[in-house]
Symmetry: D2
Subunit: 186 residues, 4 copies
């Protein structure tokens, strides 16, 4: 049934950060995969895309939703090197696995970026439990929309009606507690 969308191509990666060994999509079947394509010198990635990826990584258990950063350099290749990325990831405190896209032998656009047919950065690619691409979006997506789509993908093929459990959330209460000022308690 899952016929809409196309099967996500397997990852072809030059090197990894934040993971003891390379991630393989084939091994992630059964989980929702969030691929966040970015460049370290792309303002929209730094201000919006990467914080959103970090928030997804924070909200869900990694055995339910696997966040993967994908560094897809298509400009300024000489300065957005793996070493520069490593310093960037350290300074920004990113903790989810980050893959360095494989440079192309024939042009500026790296391999995965071509295979995924990305239009630029930031791009958000959502892959369902069956390994099928369900969203491939260049630019900004609101947090509410991302939550909505991941929530739906988590429910596919899931019999569970336990909202908290099914949510993949890290603990029993999948919401932020009352924080800061402003709430008016009885």
């Amino acid at each position: 049934m899952m016929s809409r969308g196309v099967k996500a191509p397997e990852l072809m990666i030059a090197s990894w950060l934040n993971t003891p060994e390379p991630l393989v999509l084939e091994n992630l079947l059964g989980q929702v995969v969030v691929l966040h394509a970015f460049q370290m010198l792309c303002p929209g990635c730094v201000s919006h895309g990467l914080p959103q990826a970090a928030a997804i990584n924070e909200l869900y258990r990694s055995d339910e939703v696997q966040v993967i950063g994908l560094h897809t350099v298509f400009e300024h290749h000489n300065v957005m090197t793996p070493d520069a990325l490593k310093a960037f990831v350290h300074e920004y405190g990113l903790t989810f696995p980050i893959a360095v896209d494989q440079p192309s032998e024939t042009g500026p656009i790296p391999v995965m970026m071509q295979k995924l047919n990305l239009q630029g950065t930031p791009s958000l690619v959502l892959i369902d439990k069956a390994g099928v691409i369900r969203l491939n979006h260049f630019g900004r997506v609101s947090d509410m929309q991302v939550g909505n789509m991941i929530g739906q993908l988590l429910m596919e093929g899931d019999e569970s009606l336990d909202l908290v459990k099914a949510s993949g959330a890290k603990n029993k209460t999948p919401y932020v507690g009352q924080r800061g000022a402003g709430g008016c308690r009885i």
Copy 2:
């Protein structure tokens, strides 16, 4: 089956704004209902809760997700009157249906606020397609978490695997287009 949670009590409302006729939960079975309890002079409602309710109302089709504001006055009764609420709703440009909770005859806490056992404002109550309360939360919830939970509730009992259609989103592309600066196009 769907045994967790309790059936939401039917609405007992003094008056309505933004709807030609009163809403009845019994008639909303099959839809997800988002009840946002607020007070017009509650800072957390004005800065966070009501904008979030408006964003939910904007994201989903009303025949999939019905947003209802619930004005639950439990303090400053003499100034948070229905007339004051009407001016407030006009100035803040709120367009979703808003119900004025029925004053109690015996104390400051109005009727629905008691029936729902709310602890204060803002409170977010999520009711599933079967009319069962699945979340009852006082304070702030992140947009991503709200999207995640509504997305999951929408999928319950839904055979569809069409993410866009199932999302209840108003149009085919359930995401915000590239806006503002910062995206780096190839």
Copy 3:
């Protein structure tokens, strides 16, 4: 020399909040006066104007810069009453003196609003040490611009070259310390 601008008209006020006795402009000569005109149901006042007035009140010593809120109701008179304002000021935690503009006997625009020729709310009126109006602005002004103008008004007629002392700032270090993440220390 101070000939530009016009002398600010003396305040004609119906009632006061947050002050043991009425403030009189004549008694404030030698200080910079920041008049913030607002309505409690005006979204721009709640989201921007009043937080800015509170920040000014926080930054400067009150014997150098006197912040005064002016509740200038020109619409929804029946619900933006002094009692409603009192609840609003309490809930939002405003601590600077707030004056209720005197209702007009002939129309909806209250007395001070007419005398100051305000166009709406929020409006920011800056009065210099000589009692002359130097800015009368309807709408949003950036924090940097407000700081710039108050800083200049404070320097007028001041021989001091001590930036910190002259600033009217409450303590020796007129800046926020390093807060939150992001600073990179050697």
Copy 4:
């Protein structure tokens, strides 16, 4: 008299961006100089410091207030190179003059960073019309405080009482006009 503070040391710079020829502090006497020290991979510089420097550059005329970015690399030297900085400045659309601090021959801290005794990035250094350092601050400073201090420095030695002219603002109205929603016009 201006005896407080010390004379700012003359700039010793490896290379410049965004200026046809090197800037010399001696030539800027009579103007207020805003030195913003940053590193391109410092999160606090990217999110707060550089936007504030750009806002100062936007607000004031450059013959009254000269903003200078100072790239003071003290870590990750191999990746925060002049070429990388050039790509960064291009992507972030920075338009004010930016100086690359001269590397030290003996350690990781570059020359100007040592001479100015900076503690890290971002750092804000305010130099008055007489070339004296009046503020040297590591970390975040609010926009209102920065505006206040620059406004005061602009007034020193200025006979003018014309707030708009003296402000160094680019046009007659040194404030943002009414923008966006929320203002309530009569």
